[in-house]
Amino acid sequence: MRRGIPAAAVTLGLALALTACGANSDDTSGDASSAPASGGSEDSLVVWVDETRQAAVEVAAQAFEDENDVDVELVLKNFEDIRTDFLAQVPTGEGPDITVGAHDWLGELTSNGVVAPIELGDKTEDFIDVAVEAFTQDGQVYGLPYAIENVALIRNTALAAEAPATWDQAVAAGQAAGTQYQVLIQTTPEGDPYTYYPLQTSFGAEVFAQNQDGSYTSDLTMGGAPGQAFATWLQAQGASGVLSTDVTYDIAVEAFKNGEAPFIIGGPWMVDQFEALELSIDPVPSAGGQPALPFVGVQGFYVSAQSDNALLANDFLVNYIATDEAQLALYEAGNRPPALASAAEEASSDPITAGFLAVGEESLPMPSIPEMGSVWAFWGVTEANIISGAAEPVAAWDKMIADIQGAIGS
């Protein structure tokens, strides 16, 4: 009679729970990605994508399916979940063959042995240098880049006719425009060292030392006199009211949209909201005399180290994603300039994309070494405390350097 119902529920629950435990995950991808591991369909290529890239990857996948008579299975995931799920699932054999990802995951992915190198062969030269450099570790390339992103100075041309060369000029132009803010830059009480990085590099305080091939070592180089000079400058700007920890991303974007400032330091992800404005994209003005170079983030695709379809995966990436069509489709979907040089050139017919690209090509990739996590933990809060006046700049900066070194060493 009805006594069977709870039993059925239990067993169903058990079956689900246990298979979920086995897959070490609890999301929809468990079922989808178990297909190749089960050996049932050797010819099916499983790709993890997020919502913004899905349609674009689908186009390339369709072409690949038609020409090779194989199935490409796209599994939709939240971008924030991909990194952890990939790390957890690849070792169990449940992971995908390919996943979309950001270059700064690289250090963690390689030290856990979950990604395989990709041999780009002669195609290396077809990409913008910084894009391949970002995915390179120890001389090996681990990802196929498709887009680069970085911040730049976004200028409302109605309020400022000319691009400022220095920070002081920018502030002066802002005062001349008579707007509420001079230069908008998202700060928040936790700080935003990513957006502030070009200002820091203009003092010559790069975060880590670099090897000859452009890869980063774990030697912290943002301490000493250049870092202290930057800290002192931060405090002065905070005291004069140009920088404020109250400005969050939303507040900054809203104010710029309403014409309350001639400049905002931000990336291509903001541009959609400024459709009503006439914009120009310029390099970030230098505050410390040296060029202001932002971090470049590169997005791309990784191949799993445990993929049973390594051949298909590499073929798909190198010959179907590294094409103008695919890269432009991804550009349309996400607004980030393509990493393939020829596609980037085509996308540069849009002056805004061209502006961001010009800044990015000159800049350095964000470090992907695992030590970077320890830097983020102290960096932003210290900057915010200096700006708000809560901390004495040189002492706070020196303590931050010591704390980061302590965390890296431990």
């Binding site: 709870p6 239990v10 058990l14 070792p91 983020w376």
Partner: protein, 547 residues
């Protein structure tokens, strides 16, 4: 509050199944009384059908576990199916028929999870020790095979020569063929079309479909270019182009060592799950091993954490206790007020008061963090007329804000349970107090409150345990901030133990992730909460006897 629904659930219905079994109880009692004779009743058929479904699901689970190679899960699935069949088909297992579902849920959702956490606490699972040794070796070899610098890429064809896979490449217009055991050599009579080998005498050229069928063989094939292994080998990743590569690491399974062929450094496998050279250098990929009590030692051995730990421990207790007391008192006060029949529109008030309870906790915490923003928040801008009160950035005000928001989130729950308890108070006792001439205050203090506490104290204890680990509120409202100015670790004034664990073990991304350490610390917290709960429960029992 997000989990207070679960609290109620925990208190009244620990397994979540009592509702489901109460129905069958009546039925089965009747079943038993009826003599089993005559034709098969439809109920038996339904039972058999349902058990068939259960068994089918069980078999499916067993097969799935078999396919994935999870023997532990397989064994427990088999055991559960056998037990379920025995319990529901035997006539002598009546009590088990009710207990089994709850027991099974307990095993899967509690015992397994706690056991797994306990096991992880004794391993070095985390960044750099993510998987098994085989996979670590595989990954190291994969990462340390280099393309020879400046070497060209070759148009490549995959061939099958007498059962052995081989590559045919074109170099300077000449066709070269080789297999794993047979280095590349010129084959003058091979057909080269459009710079690609299309036919090789004595070997078959594999079609794309054949290649895909054997793709793992193709990607793992290395064809040496000469008899000297140091010259490198040709390999391919897409079966269209080949390139010259040399390994920089060599794996010796016998000696359990990795050798760097460029420098000659030998890395030995160590008991802590990585390859280490004599001068202390480590290869970056390691594997998971049992490390005994190391995680517990690390947890309490780092001097940088010593001072913040004490502060955080004190604040965690203060936060949990004050949260319970404040929400209980406010909830009780409101419950008494709205329990008075003289208040008009009580139902409307009661409904309105439950609103904060209906909003998901993490959302409410986020909303409050916006409203408490120093310059743009609703509280400062509208209520305080533009004052710049640093609600979330001053150490003491941030603590006050956290408690205030938790009060707002938590009082409806206390209001609900107090209302329920008040309404179930025996009327005769109150009547007796009245007859004896006790004042209202005296009645409340000596009769109402003790009776109320008997009914609500288990819920207060579980509320304490919940707030002790109220990660969501802290994470969403302040993120632990403002930071300790004098500490060298990324912790702050409103961090509680569980949010400290999140940071210490790197789960927040500020350090290398260490699940082993996180599990070890979770167990410590579990022990603290369990001890306190056990002591308090004991106290409550004495209390009950007095009343």
């Amino acid at each position: 509050m997000p989990s207070q629904p679960t609290l109620t659930g925990d208190a009244t219905d620990p397994t979540g199944t009592t509702g489901g079994t109460s129905g069958p109880r009546g039925l089965s009692a009747r079943d038993r009384d009826r003599p089993a004779r005559g034709p098969v009743r439809p109920g038996t058929l339904v039972k058999i059908a349902l058990m068939a479904v259960v068994n089918a699901l069980g078999v499916f689970g067993v097969l799935a576990a078999w396919r994935e190679g999870h023997m532990g899960i397989l064994a427990s699935m088999v055991a559960l199916v056998v037990v379920a069949d025995w319990v529901y088909f035997s006539k002598r297992t009546l009590p088990l028929k009710y207990i089994l579902p709850g027991l099974a849920f307990l095993l899967v959702y509690q015992v397994y999870v706690v056991g797994y956490t306990g096991w992880v606490a004794f391993t070095n699972y985390g960044d750099g020790h993510n998987s098994t040794k085989e996979q670590a070796v595989e990954a190291l070899l994969l990462q340390n095979e280099r393309r020879v610098e400046g070497s060209p890429t070759y148009p490549l064809t995959v061939v099958d020569r007498g059962g052995a896979l081989g590559f045919a490449i074109v170099e300077d217009g000449e066709a070269m063929v080789g297999t794993a055991d047979d280095p590349l050599s010129e084959v003058p009579d091979a057909t080269v079309d459009d710079d690609r080998v299309t036919e090789v005498p004595g070997a078959t050229v594999l079609s794309r479909q054949d290649i895909l069928r054997r793709q793992s063989e193709v990607t793992s094939l290395r064809v040496p270019v000469s008899d000297d292994p140091n010259d490198g080998w040709v390999r391919t990743q897409d079966a269209r182009t080949g390139f010259l590569a040399t390994p920089t690491l060599q794996w010796d399974p016998e000696a359990d060592t990795m050798t760097d062929v460029t420098t000659g450094t030998v890395y030995e496998a160590t008991s802590d799950g990585s390859f280490r050279s004599d001068d202390g250098q480590r290869l970056n990929v390691g594997w998971r091993v049992m490390v005994g009590l190391d995680n517990f030692r690390t947890a309490f051995g780092d001097e940088r954490y010593a001072q913040p730990f004490v502060k955080i421990l004190v604040w965690t207790f203060a936060f949990a206790i004050l949260s319970v007391v404040s929400t209980f008192l406010l909830g009780l006060f409101l419950a008494i007020t709205f329990n008075d029949t003289r208040v008009r529109g009580r139902k409307i008030y009661r409904t309105l008061l439950i609103f904060p309870y209906a909003i998901p906790g993490f959302l409410a915490a986020l909303l409050w963090s916006g409203m408490l923003n120093r310059s743009y928040g609703f509280i400062n801008q509208v209520l305080l007329g533009g004052a710049a009160v640093p609600w979330l950035t001053d150490p003491w005000l941030a603590k006050l804000s956290v408690l205030g928001v938790n009060l707002w989130l938590g009082f409806p729950y206390m209001f609900l349970i107090c209302t329920g308890a008040l309404q179930s108070l025996p009327g005769d006792v109150l009547e007796a107090a009245k007859v004896d001439g006790a004042s209202a205050w005296r009645t409340w203090r000596s009769v109402t409150l003790p009776l109320l506490l008997v009914a609500t104290s288990p819920l207060l204890i579980s509320s304490f345990a919940f707030n002790f680990n109220n990660f969501t509120l802290i994470y969403m409202l302040t993120g632990g901030g403002p930071r300790f100015a004098d500490a060298s670790v990324p912790l702050g004034h409103t961090d509680i133990l569980i949010s400290m664990v999140y940071s210490v073990s790197g789960l927040d991304g500020t350090a290398a992730k260490n699940y082993g350490l996180a599990s070890a610390l979770s167990i410590v917290i579990f022990l603290i909460v369990a001890t306190i709960s056990a002591i308090t429960f004991k106290r409550t029992k004495q209390f009950e006897e007095i009343s």
